[in-house]
Amino acid sequence: MTRYFENGTGELVPDALAGFARAHADLVEYDPADGYVTARNTAPARTVGLLSGGGSGHEPLHAGYVGAGMLDAACPGRVFASPHNRQIFRASRAVAGPNGVLHIVKNYTGDRINFGIAAERLADAGIACGRVLVDDDLASDSEDIAAGRRGTGATVLVEKVLGGAADTGMGLDGLVGLGTAVAGRCRTLAVASAAHHAPVTGEPAFALPPGELEYGVGIHGERADRTRSQKQVGVLVEDMADALLGALRPGPDDPVVALVNGLGSVTSLELYGVFGELGRVLDARRVRLARHLVGNYVTALDMRGFSLTLMVADRAVLDFYDAPARTPAWQG
């Protein structure tokens, strides 16, 4: 028996999507042939279809955010692998509105290429297509990394804000501008005390000695550039929050949205503890914590870790964030 409960190698993703679609049949539909999930309901005012996608293993991202007020479609790839351009092209065609379709893409080379190929096909087919690139991971913010910062936890915040904006009837250029600006005002840091296990081998992606943690880990088991000894979580969260605030530098009146995100196998007890510490640090730094999320939103299979995302908003962005949405993983 392997570590993962599955029918066989390669079956994990399609089997899960079929079950997901049945569990949320009132909200989403799954096309098993073309491998994408679409929303059953969308606001009548929306003129641009919103689509995202990427490797599986980050559930509930992305399919969990398909539904009224957020995404019109999601294209899941195999575990940690980009979706094929065919999935993206066909899903985009299916959900494009009169003003086209917007791709929300996490910054990874494979995703950029496959979404890019789909965008070229859409242009050839006469369908307007724009892109918002999410690149919030502070740990990969280095001039030595030509590919740029990775896209991680902020993706769900960007998807929520753009969903709210799209429901006002905003056009493609407006959404691209808004999404790019919002993504640019988000930063994330992730830590792990144990790696995820690869579905095929059941082996951990990396080994950490007891008492150590990986500071700046990616959501596919990418090692951080440093390992540090575990301290009390309050000290850890304070270091992480200060690094994020140093990069974002919110003004005293800027509303800040915080996401305390579990990476797969951290308990709810721990996540709320982390949120308590984060709130304490933000209060001490006189940062205006306007909204918060605590839970598993963007995971990395069964990694024992969590990420902190801060988004510096303004009144308009907060209104879009607060707009109603109903998807399998977002209610409210």
């Binding site: 351009n85 065919r86 950029r112 496959n114 890019g116 190929i117 965008a119 070229e120 096909r121």
Partner: protein
């Protein structure tokens, strides 16, 4: 001198020649890609021409050059994994669009336009510059040669395009990769040509072969 178009018959002949050259070199392409990439390029390109052939050889196969190239594009884009195969699909998509937009069919001018548009699309998607040791290093000189020869008969223009592409292949051997899978290997791949560039050169050699066979016998080449 008139400039004869690459009509439907010639387009099909071009694709058959390309298919034959891909099958004949699949082992070498695989070997090259095992040294600079993940080793699947030969298999993927062969899968592309096989899928394209299935579409082109059906009884209800598309009639014109634009439709035939569009079917080839769809085969490469829809059916092939990896990155390079679908990028070839974008080149075929642009060639199809150029043939569709030209009243005289796939003339030298339309081939030049389609190749330039395909190159632009591939560069937008992958971000590769000439000199990054990718298929762009063969496609860019082919596009430049076609643009320079846009009023010449297809035989001369495509011979120049094929020469340019092969020169680009030879140039990739002296380059260190900055894009694509080979970029992780640094100096270790210097001396080895890029397999994607070889694939592009095979494509233009096949086109040159189609018109070289017919050119001496036809007015306008």
């Amino acid at each position: 001198m008139t400039t004869a178009a690459f009509d439907s018959t010639r387009t099909r002949d071009w694709m058959r020649r390309f298919t034959a050259s891909v099958y004949a070199t699949e082992a070498e392409l695989t070997e090259l890609d095992q040294r600079v990439g993940d080793g699947d390029f030969g298999t993927n390109l062969a899968a592309g021409v096989r899928a394209a052939g299935l579409l082109l050889d059906r009884p209800e196969a598309p009639a014109g050059s634009a439709e035939a190239l569009g079917a080839v594009a769809t085969a490469f884009l829809d059916e092939i994994g990896g990155t390079s195969g679908p990028l070839f699909g974008l080149l075929f998509q642009a060639l199809s669009r150029a043939a569709d937009g030209s009243d005289a069919g796939l003339t030298t001018g339309a081939l030049a336009e389609g190749t330039a548009q395909g190159l632009a699309a591939i560069r937008r998607v992958g971000g590769a510059e000439p000199g990054d040791k990718t298929l762009v290093d063969a496609l860019a000189p082919a596009a430049a040669a076609l643009r320079a020869a846009r009023d010449a008969p297809p035989a001369a223009a495509l011979a120049a395009a094929a020469d340019g592409a092969w020169q680009g292949v030879r140039d990739t051997a002296s380059l260190t990769a900055r894009r694509g899978r080979a970029s992780y290997l640094g100096e270790r791949v210097t001396g080895i040509p890029d397999p994607g560039a070889v694939g592009v050169a095979l494509l233009f050699s096949a086109a040159a072969g189609t018109v070289r066979t017919l050119a001496p016998h036809l007015p306008g080449g």
